[in-house]
């Protein structure tokens, strides 16, 4: 089931594989999507739903599955769900469902803007007596604070079991409700439900694939979680052919999330120190972050955290100075992309490094973002072409309209040319967590340099400027270890002799023993005493020994290909793959065999060559130690080793700010009221009620049409890497708007001619592409029109068009601050903007 993704168009080569499964193995492909796309064209079933109604559809699938006779009679489902998920866990009696509270969960603050998750927690047994009396290490501190085991009812009958809570929560999510809220015929929904259920179980697995069609919502994280719950209930996680595949957008967007250039995260998914939390010292930081998760593999948090700080500051990082923790910056709020531009508009941000990104086109409420750029003192743009971000001061729509004047823009701007991928070496992490190394084929032309060159040499210059400082505030930059000097052999054949060593950076990411600089082969070798450095623990193993780069391995096979590149963590391709065996350790079936327990050697084995995502010698069914942490606490039937209870979470007692269960809320801007609850939209969604960012009301008569923005096969994101290429420009030359014939007739819009689309944020024009692939929906008895626009265009390049993001708003998911680009409201008319035809 592909939902929230247009796989054939946006990940065309990945789509090779489901299509092969269809033609060679009879797999059924289903597409649940607001539009009929090139993906829908190749699928067996297309369920067309209104944008923003995903949780109703998925919730109804959950209800269908758990009430079906097959799910209730096939012992496979019971064994998987009772043992591998938290279905049997008892939730705090204070917990209240949205059904009880007019659409919100228990714990909502008085101002209705934040939740306390205390009432969402598990019922627990008393904490065990600690085995550690005197804490000498961070690990000891965790051992003194191990919580009691969650209480369970393995019969699933207790009304406080997760299972009963889930069942009750989704009881109103029915096929009829799908028809009413999603606008999808009940029959189509039932075909999807039956197909999923029939193709899950001991012998078969089903996969769910999504992309930004799910993330770009004010309930984005909850949509994805809902799919996770469904897959857990169907026993499809940790098994070959199952799982949830997140199709990400950029060549190493996974890598840039893992090794986070993101405000909230340190590399390897350690949290960024946050001055609003009890992060006052390294000890406080570790206790705050690690205690709640110490009974998972995160019990090793202290080792990963100390090794990170040691990688930052080397010899200067000592036990006495908390490994430099005090000098490391702390966040104090949401510093993500949208607030970054809000603060830029306010003049708070003065200097801006924009490296391979084009917010003048790709940013939400792009007019707002461009105007914010004009407030900067200085900006560096690194790219291949003169992007819209680089040129906003001379030819943006705001300059053309006179809203901004070039002479008034005091921003000092540097355009620095970047090398292209074949002109440098380095690793990318693809959407499957697979690191692949690309080699350098040629020197970049003229002044073009790799971005690593830029950051490395900038760092050297900045460090030189600070070298004589004695101020405490400069301690971090002065003591930052900074040595990626190339070995002579690395640059011998190239014109550019000062290109830094990507290998050395990757080795630091991998981790090594500080004293002798020998790489550590596994994250199990990392220590909390400052003897190891490690940039990102999840990547450890990519350089297991000096000179051996596993990401550059190029030996594939017909299945898991363990010798092609390197999958983090520890070359494990299928995560949580302990779940591919039953509670006795036997494969669920011969057909779906992956990892299994070998009683002779007392080990988990897999002939596939995949890494085993479990403790190799922990026997199935064996009990964990109540007073232990990490793998010691987990039992032999706890496959989900990164969860504090070792289980897949049907109910999330922690980790989410907007509720433990996915619940249908209308998009922040919706043409209809919420049929399911009194609460219209996500109560804790991130909104910015500021000048330049007006919103539309729910069911706003001025903006009755739903708009969704998306990408095409022929272009890439904001177009920097495609609109300058004539080969791609001619395939999709100009911005267009997909619109149904019904709406086109209603508005007098002719195919191929210009039409205008506007919101309270902006007005743009586009060519009309009138097509029955778009359809009007009947939602709760009311006709709702929806249009769609690819957002690749801007005013530069060999294919040009208006910036679609001029229409969108700054509004975001409360968990991850991802904007709601997949659904908002607008209006349309025939003709060009400004009234001309």
């Amino acid at each position: 089931m592909i939902m929230g993704s247009n796989m054939a168009e946006c990940h065309p080569v990945a789509f090779r594989w489901p299509l092969k499964a269809k033609t060679e193995h009879g797999a059924v492909l289903m597409h649940v999507d607001p539009r009929f796309t090139r993906t829908s064209a190749l699928c067996d079933i297309h369920a067309q739903i209104r944008a923003g109604s995903d949780i109703v559809f998925l919730g109804a699938l959950i209800t269908y599955v758990i009430n079906s006779s097959r799910w209730n009679s096939d012992p496979f489902f019971k064994e998987y769900v009772i043992n591998y998920t938290n279905a049997a866990t008892l939730v705090n009696a204070d917990f209240k469902d949205p059904d009880d509270l007019d659409g919100v969960f228990s714990g909502l603050s008085g101002d209705g803007k934040t939740y306390s998750n205390a009432s969402w927690s598990y019922q627990r047994n008393p904490a065990p007596a600690s085995t550690v009396s005197e804490a000498k290490t961070f690990t000891d501190l965790l051992l003194q604070r191990v919580p009691g085991r969650p209480k369970t009812d393995m019969t699933l009958q207790d009304p406080q079991t997760v299972f009963q809570i889930v069942k009750k929560h989704y009881a109103r999510y029915t096929p009829e409700m799908v028809e009413r809220v999603c606008g999808c015929p009940k029959e189509t929904f039932l075909r999807v439900a039956e197909t999923l259920l029939n193709n899950s179980g001991r012998d078969k697995t089903s996969n769910i694939t999504y992309a930004v069609g799910w993330t770009q919502h004010t309930v984005g994280v909850q949509i994805i979680r809902c799919a996770g719950m469904l897959q857990a209930l169907l026993g499809n996680i940790g098994r070959p052919g199952g799982g949830i595949l997140a199709l990400r957008g950029h060549s190493t967007i996974q890598g840039s999330t893992d090794i986070a250039t993101l405000y909230h995260s340190l590399p390897g998914y350690l949290n960024m120190p946050d001055a609003r939390r009890n992060h006052d010292s390294l000890k406080d930081f570790i206790l705050t972050e690690a205690v709640p998760v110490s009974t998972s593999y995160w019990g090793n948090y202290p080792k990963f955290a100390v090794s990170y700080f040691k990688a930052q500051f080397g010899d200067a990082a000592t036990r006495e100075n908390d490994y430099g923790y005090h000098y490391h910056p702390k966040i104090t709020g949401d510093h993500s992309h949208l607030p970054m531009f809000v603060d830029m508009m306010d003049g708070k941000i003065k200097g801006f490094l924009c490296v391979g990104q084009n917010p003048a086109v790709g940013g939400q409420n792009a007019r707002f973002q461009r105007k914010a750029l004009a407030k900067l003192d200085w900006m560096v743009v690194r790219d291949f072409y003169e992007t819209e971000t680089a040129s906003f001061w001379r030819n943006s729509p705001e300059i053309k309209s006179g809203e901004l004047k070039t002479a008034d823009i005091k921003t000092e701007i540097f355009y620095l040319p970047s090398a292209c991928v074949p002109e440098m070496e380095g690793s990318f992490t693809n959407t499957q967590r697979l690191l692949q190394y690309h080699e350098k084929a040629a020197d970049p032309p003229d002044d073009s340099r790799s971005n690593l060159w830029f950051t490395y040499h900038l760092g050297k210059k900045i460090k030189a400027l600070y070298k004589d400082s004695t101020r405490e505030r400069d301690w971090a930059i002065r003591n930052l270890t900074w040595d990626y000097e190339p070995e002579p052999a690395e640059v011998a054949n190239w014109r550019i002799k000062d290109e830094p060593s990507a290998y050395k950076a990757l080795k630091e990411i991998n981790g090594y023993i500080w004293k002798d600089k020998k790489p550590v082969p596994s994250f199990a070798n990392l220590a909390e005493d400052g003897s190891t450095v490690c940039g990102a623990w999840i990547y450890t193993g990519v350089i297991p020994e000096e000179g051996k780069n596993q990401s550059a391995r190029r030996q594939g096979d017909n299945w898991i290909s363990p010798n092609w590149g390197f999958a983090w963590p520890a070359n494990r391709h299928i995560m949580y793959n302990r779940a591919s065996a039953d509670t006795k350790g036997n494969p669920w079936s011969e057909k779906k065999k992956l990892v299994y327990w070998d009683a002779v050697s007392s080990k988990w084995l897999t002939p596939s060559g995949d890494g085993i995502d479990f403790a190799l010698t922990k026997a199935p069914g064996s009990a964990g130690k109540d007073a232990g942490i990490g793998f010691d606490w987990l039992g032999g039937n706890d496959p989900f080793i990164m969860r504090a209870d070792g289980k897949a979470w049907l109910f999330a007692p922690a980790g989410l700010v907007d509720g433990p269960l996915p619940t249908h809320y209308e998009p922040y801007e919706s043409p209809v009221n919420n049929v399911l609850y009194k609460q219209e939209s996500n109560p804790v969604a991130k909104v910015w009620k500021i000048a330049g960012n007006p919103y539309h009301k729910v069911a706003d008569p001025d903006y009755p049409i739903v708009i969704s923005t998306y990408r095409l096969t022929e272009h890439y994101l904001s177009g920097v890497m495609s609109r300058w290429l004539p080969w791609l420009a001619e395939l999709m030359p100009e911005l267009f708007c997909e619109i149904s014939p019904e709406l086109a007739v209603d508005k007098g819009i002719m195919n191929g001619e210009y039409m205008t689309i506007w919101t309270a944020r902006g007005e743009i024009q586009a060519r009309a592409l009138v097509t029955r692939r778009m359809k009007p929906f009947v939602i709760n008895g009311k006709t709702v029109h929806q249009i769609g626009m690819p957002w690749h265009w801007g005013w530069q390049g060999t294919a040009q068009g208006d910036v679609v993001n001029n229409l969108s708003a700054l509004v975001a998911d409360p968990n991850v601050s991802i904007h709601e680009g997949k659904v908002f409201t607008c209006n349309v008319r025939a003709g060009r903007k400004g009234g001309t035809v």
Binding site: F36, R38, L731
Partner: protein
């Protein structure tokens, strides 16, 4: 030993990778007709939006040796929805009208069965353009010669498949021995028929003496704009020349040489273009 391609339109996703891969390998620039230079603009900008589904290149041309067709078949109630795609190119006919009608024998069939326009021999009579029942061969004002897909003549003579088939993400375009491809096509058709695709058919088994590039279609050929019974012009005029018109032949060749001399004098060397957009 005939090489060819089997185009299974049932698994084409309309991605157009074939169009770009063809241009990349063969050094074909984007079609200048697709771009317009506005007053004061620093460079030409694409202006070929058609409004015809996702097809903006429209047809095969001297620089577009591949073209993907988009056919939307959706009823007003949206109870039956289909979006058909078909990647089209030269079919390398066994009985090739272009080759038949060329007065200067600039169009040749190689040992692998592919039909190529020899740029050193072509004089731009355009007879082949008119004769091709599929609208494949196209004249270029720039080179004053005709162009079309060569079946990647250089690649296939060096044990490589065609650029388009190599790039094709789903295997919709397959290159190989025609006889082997036909076996594959037959079994794929049988599979589809079994799944209830009653309109699925193979195109190119008999048309124009059999096409080296043939298709599995999901609809009647006419839906894709393919002639049900393509008329193949024969070598009538030339055979007349060969039989009794040695003088006429000599005269014609003389004329041709003259045209060529004149044209060459007024333009760049033909080998240099159309070039890759470096």
């Amino acid at each position: 030993m005939a090489k060819g391609m089997f185009v299974d339109t049932s698994i084409c996703t309309g991605c157009k990778a074939c169009q770009v891969a063809c241009k990349e390998w063969n050094g074909l620039e984007a079609e200048p007709d697709h771009f317009t230079q506005g007053p004061g603009a620093p460079y030409p900008v694409a202006s070929n939006f058609t409004g015809n589904s996702y097809d903006n290149t429209g047809k095969l041309s001297a620089r577009d040796w591949r073209h993907v067709l988009f056919i939307e078949q959706i009823n007003s109630r949206r109870t039956a929805s289909r979006w058909l795609f078909m990647s089209d190119s030269c079919k390398h006919c066994t009985d090739a009208a272009c080759l038949n009608v060329c007065p200067v024998e600039a169009i040749e069939r190689t040992d692998l069965g592919n039909v190529i326009v020899r740029q050193d021999k072509c004089v731009g009579t355009k007879l082949c353009n008119k004769a091709c029942p599929y609208g494949v061969v196209r004249y270029s004002e720039k080179t004053r010669t005709s162009h079309k897909c060569t079946l990647c003549n250089d690649r296939i003579h060096n044990n490589m498949g065609t650029a388009c088939s190599k790039s094709c993400p789903t295997g919709s375009i397959q290159f190989g021995e025609v006889s082997e491809l036909k076996t594959k096509a037959d079994s794929r058709l049988a599979q589809l028929r079994k799944l209830g695709e009653n309109k699925a058919n193979l195109y190119g088994y008999s048309e124009a003496g059999g096409l080296k590039v043939f298709y599995l279609l999901m609809e009647n050929p006419a839906v894709y704009g393919l002639p049900e019974n393509p008329v193949v012009q024969q070598r009538r005029k030339l055979s007349l020349i060969n039989k009794g018109g040695a003088q006429l032949s000599a005269f014609l060749m003389g004329m041709v040489a003259l045209i060529r001399f004149r044209e060459r004098g007024g333009r760049k060397e033909p080998g240099a273009e159309p070039g890759a957009g470096e």
